[in-house]
């Protein structure tokens, strides 16, 4: 950390020479981030998974829902790189299609939880009047048993929403929404703590003294400074949302079988575990690798965004 080996100082000097004297905050963050091998690997794996899921269906052009009952329960082959399931559907195409849904759920739920968390955190930290009430609300949400409640909400509202918006959009919106509104509490707490200390700093006082309105102070001076904890919670939020969605699907209360996610594929595969164990392996591996890479990215980001770790002189 502070007693960094000489080589890294040399390296930094060299980089400085190359880049001139310009060193932005994000340049520093990136330089620190690059030293974290795990984080770099995480980025590589995550980008690979995202690209595979996004572009894969254009290369492997097999319809994931195409039934081919003659070729059921096959092992890996050139035509079906991950084999086929008990109805002869191509597993590779299903894993790719499931990945699109799983990743979309992860990112969308993370965005909702970040928005609520940031809003609650900033309001509670900046406006003293709301602090007590909002933090009590956060505590109440933290005391809710999340997984049982999620299961119950999905069970009860699934059919109604399916009728209202359609089977796929309905369940997608429901799952994203319930994961989002039950996972914002940590973000809110961290943001509130940071806002509380930022609010007392001179630059905020200066802004206020020239008559800047509260919402402008929040947007221009407070929010950019709490960006780093928000970014770290964003990565953890994606990982958490993907795991929660898979857990729900795994318990049979997530996405329907004709609109599979990785969790749903795992759930369906579990019944054929003895016959074709790779049906469990591939979706499970996809979930684990995604979550692992996202967590490593979050770890590296936390180190890189921490000024004490960055070792600036």
């Amino acid at each position: 950390m502070t007693d960094a080996p000489i080589t890294s100082v040399d390296q930094r000097a060299m980089q400085d020479a190359e880049m001139g004297e310009q060193r932005s905050l994000w340049g520093d963050v990136w330089r620190q981030f690059r030293r974290h091998t795990g984080a770099l690997l995480g980025v590589a794996v995550f980008v690979f998974i995202v690209l595979a899921v996004a572009l894969g269906p254009f290369i492997h052009t097999v319809d994931p829902q195409h039934l081919d009952i003659v070729n059921k329960n096959q092992g890996p082959s050139w035509a079906h790189p991950m084999g086929t399931d008990n109805l002869g559907r191509d597993m590779f195409a299903q894993v790719l299609a499931g990945g699109q849904v799983s990743l979309a759920v992860g990112v969308a739920a993370m965005l909702i939880s970040l928005m609520i968390g940031t809003l609650v955190g900033v309001l509670a930290g900046y406006f003293k009047v709301m602090d007590g009430a909002l933090m009590r609300l956060t505590d109440l949400f933290l005391a809710l048993p999340i997984l049982p409640l999620l299961l119950v909400i999905i069970l009860l509202f699934r059919d109604t929403l399916r009728k209202a918006i359609g089977p796929e959009a309905g369940i997608f919106l429901l799952i994203v929404f319930v994961i989002g509104i039950t996972s914002w509490m940590q973000t809110a707490r961290i943001v509130r703590g940071d806002v509380l200390s930022l609010k007392e700093r001179e630059f905020v006082l200066a802004a206020r003294s020239i008559g800047t309105r509260s919402w402008r102070i929040i947007l221009r001076h407070i929010l950019p400074n709490v960006l780093s904890p928000i970014m770290v919670s964003a990565t953890l939020g994606v990982a958490n949302a993907i795991i929660t969605e898979s857990a729900l699907s795994f318990l049979g209360l997530g996405f329907p079988p004709d609109f599979p996610t990785w969790g749903r594929l795992l759930y369906d595969g579990a019944n054929f575990m003895q016959l074709s164990p790779d049906r469990v392996l591939w979706p499970g591996l996809a979930i684990s690798l995604t979550v692992l890479s996202v967590n490593f990215m979050g770890d590296g980001l936390r180190d890189a965004l921490d000024p004490r770790q960055r070792g600036r002189k």
Binding site: L142, L149, A247, F250, L251, A270, S288
Partner: protein
């Protein structure tokens, strides 16, 4: 300390009332018909009778208050009656919370299921603590050594891979290919002699280890961070300077202080193991509380789900309180009053 405890206990009452209201409202206001699963041939007036017999004729708030009365007054009185063999008031007239699916009192169902959950899930938590503490201590003491690197990686992996995947992989490897352990947990199995004891151990190994590894991954990171915080403190240097053995410095001075935050984390995790066990119990077919909840949810057994979810909430509030109080007792620098 006592004043603080009493204040927190009093504060827990509105919290729990609010949570009970949320749980009740979500389940009650949902567009869901408890007679929806019955055959379509049942005529509408009979359907209405069934709804009334389930207690659905009353307005929402009456039902909420009745449920509260049953949960907080009737059921505890019943437990007291049974425990001491006495009669408080009119026990026959007392309305109990009954499950719609089995028509039996829910508390009885819960009492029936609790031992399995405690046995598997509780043991896994103990195993997790036993694994996590040494890993955390050694990782922190030899920071950046290969052991530390490996430990950090291990905890990252354990923390990222969901239990429903590790559980299934364990079943494939150890039950399907190697045939060492049974994949289904047999709850009717009774331990009478050595052989049945060995069987019990064999069927418990997989669920316990899967859950333990997941919990150990998180705890070991906390332990490591907490040890690192303490290892750089002045009192450690003092202890070394006055010539204490390294072993004593580490295991008496540093460990004791580092355990304070870890113990609160452990206390906070206890309610989560009940909730988190839902998935593990489902994989290994342990018929504990988690599976009871899943059965209730699948069968739309609203009273059962309400009661179980609320019990989970009580556990969370209670262990939050316990964690805070433990923190105050263990660390004399922390004063709540």
């Amino acid at each position: 300390m006592l004043r603080y405890t009493i204040r927190r206990l009093l504060l827990a009452i509105p919290t729990l009332l609010f949570i009970s209201f949320v749980i009740f409202a979500i389940l009650d206001l949902a567009p869901n018909d408890p007679t929806g699963q019955l055959p379509l041939t049942i005529p509408a007036e009979v359907r209405e009778k069934i709804r009334e017999s389930l207690g659905l004729g009353e307005p929402f708030f009456i039902r909420y208050l009745k449920w509260l009365e049953q949960f907080f007054i009737n059921e505890p009185l019943n437990i007291l009656d049974q425990a001491f063999g006495i009669q408080i008031g009119n026990a026959e007239e007392r309305l109990r919370i009954t499950s719609w699916a089995t028509r039996s009192p829910i508390v009885d169902l819960i009492i029936e299921r609790t031992p399995q959950t405690l046995m598997v899930v509780g043991l896994s938590y103990v195993v997790a603590i036993l694994i996590a503490l040494p890993i955390g201590i050694i990782s922190a003491y030899r920071q950046y050594s290969w052991f530390d690197q490996f430990g950090t990686f291990f905890s990252m992996v354990g923390f990222s891979i969901p239990t429903f995947f590790t559980g299934l992989v364990c079943i494939i490897v150890f039950s399907v290919y190697l045939g060492w352990f049974p994949s289904i947990y047999d709850t009717t199995h009774k331990v009478t002699d050595w052989d049945s004891f060995v069987f019990q151990i064999r069927q418990m190994i997989m669920p316990v280890m899967v859950l333990a590894l997941f919990n150990a991954a998180q705890l070991s990171r906390f332990m490591r961070a907490s040890m690192l915080d303490n290892l750089n403190q002045d009192y450690v240097r003092t202890a070394r300077a006055k010539g204490m053995k390294e072993r004593a410095v580490l295991l008496i001075h540093v460990l004791r202080n580092s355990l304070i935050p870890v113990i609160t984390v452990i206390a906070l995790g206890v309610p989560q193991i009940f909730g988190g066990a839902i998935i593990t119990e489902q994989i290994f077919r342990v018929n504990g509380l988690g599976q009871l909840l899943i059965i209730g949810i699948q069968g739309a057994d609203i009273p059962l789900v309400q009661t179980l979810t609320f019990i989970f909430a009580i556990l969370i509030v209670l262990f939050n309180l316990i964690a805070d109080i433990l923190y105050g007792i263990l660390d004399p620098r922390i004063r709540y009053d």
